[in-house]
Amino acid sequence: MEGTLNLVGFGLAAIGPGIATGLIFAAYINGVARQPEARSVLQPIAFLGFALAEALALFGLVLAFVL
């Protein structure tokens, strides 16, 4: 089997953003369940946080290919 250690490193690096994304959406679901009318306020915030957390995982992916 071929490949580089980069891919293992990327797998490890993806754990953090994975947990972060879970926490963000858990908080979002909690918020909407408690106060359904707050949905339109919470939605952009949730997706913004998701995008910021996910960006970290994707930088890892890019670096796994580049390095």
Binding site: M1, E2, G3, S40, P44, F47, L48, A51, L52, E54, A55, L58, F59, L61, V62, F65
Partner: protein, 262 residues
């Protein structure tokens, strides 16, 4: 599935798709600009123009189906991204936000449209240009609104922080505004499209390769294709989401530059 394909590759010569698969050769010999991504950008501009000209040509009080489709996209950008985020000066930026959203959306969707199947934004230069537009616009808006010195002062010196902390905070804030924001904006879009396309390539090409193997491998290949199809729908969601997030972040940056709290 990937490790399985890689193990098969040892004796069959299966090459897992990598970054080189995104370097499509120009289809006119010697002309570096005649590549598929460039063609797709022109095609997307053409498609968007035709769609919205047709949708708005016979505007009526009771809208036709086409007019309704065009107007719902427009009102989504204007209300949910413009008015909600930027505030009372939002109408100046709606043309830019709307162009950005439709352009990115159509170019992303090229990734899953049959016969085209190449997301333009998986070539890094296109996201770079779009992020550069956003970068210059939000700084221009901020400087125009507050003056250069006041704008820089607002970026560099956050209020309500003890003075020694500025040694740490000021470089971080400068890096955020001038380096991290445009980099993350472009890399996020690029990496999403790149990773998504690579994922589809792995399963579709892997399934095709399994089909050429012995009978046992032939039986497995439908599963690879099924996952490939499921991932195509997942990609559809990601592509819409990325167009939304790019526009949302642009609107947020503009709103941040416009805000005068002091």
């Amino acid at each position: 599935m990937l490790s399985y394909a890689a193990e098969v590759g040892k004796d069959e010569g299966f090459n897992p798709p990598d970054a080189g698969d995104f370097n499509l050769p120009p289809f006119i010999e010697g002309n570096e600009f005649a590549t598929k991504p460039i063609l797709l950008v022109f095609l997307s501009v053409l498609l968007i123009s035709i769609f919205f000209i047709l949708a708005s040509r016979k505007a009526a009080l009771v809208p036709s189906k086409l007019q309704f489709a065009g107007e719902s996209v427009y009102s989504f950008v204007r209300n949910d991204l413009g008015r909600e985020v930027i505030g009372h000066e939002f109408m100046r930026f709606v043309p830019y936000l709307f162009t950005l959203f439709t352009f990115i959306l159509v170019n992303n969707l090229f990734g899953i449209i049959p016969m085209i199947q190449f997301p333009t934004m998986s070539r890094i230069s296109f996201p770079y240009v779009l992020a550069a537009f956003t970068f210059f616009i939000f700084h221009y808006v901020g400087i125009r609104k507050q003056g250069f010195l006041k704008y820089m002062k607002e970026i560099m010196f956050l209020p309500g922080i003890p003075k020694p902390a500025y040694i740490l905070i000021t470089p971080l804030e400068l890096a955020t505004y001038f380096l991290v924001r445009p980099m993350t904006l472009s890399l996020r879009l690029f990496a999403n499209m790149f990773a998504g396309h690579l994922l589809l390539l792995v399963f579709i090409l892997g399934g095709e390769h399994l089909l050429q193997g012995v009978i046992g491998l032939k039986l497995i290949s439908p599963f690879a294709f099924a996952i490939g199809i499921a991932l195509t729908f997942f990609e559809f969601m990601v592509q819409c989401l990325q167009a939304y997030i790019f526009t949302l972040l642009t609107a947020l940056y503009i709103a941040g530059a416009l805000a005068d709290e002091h």
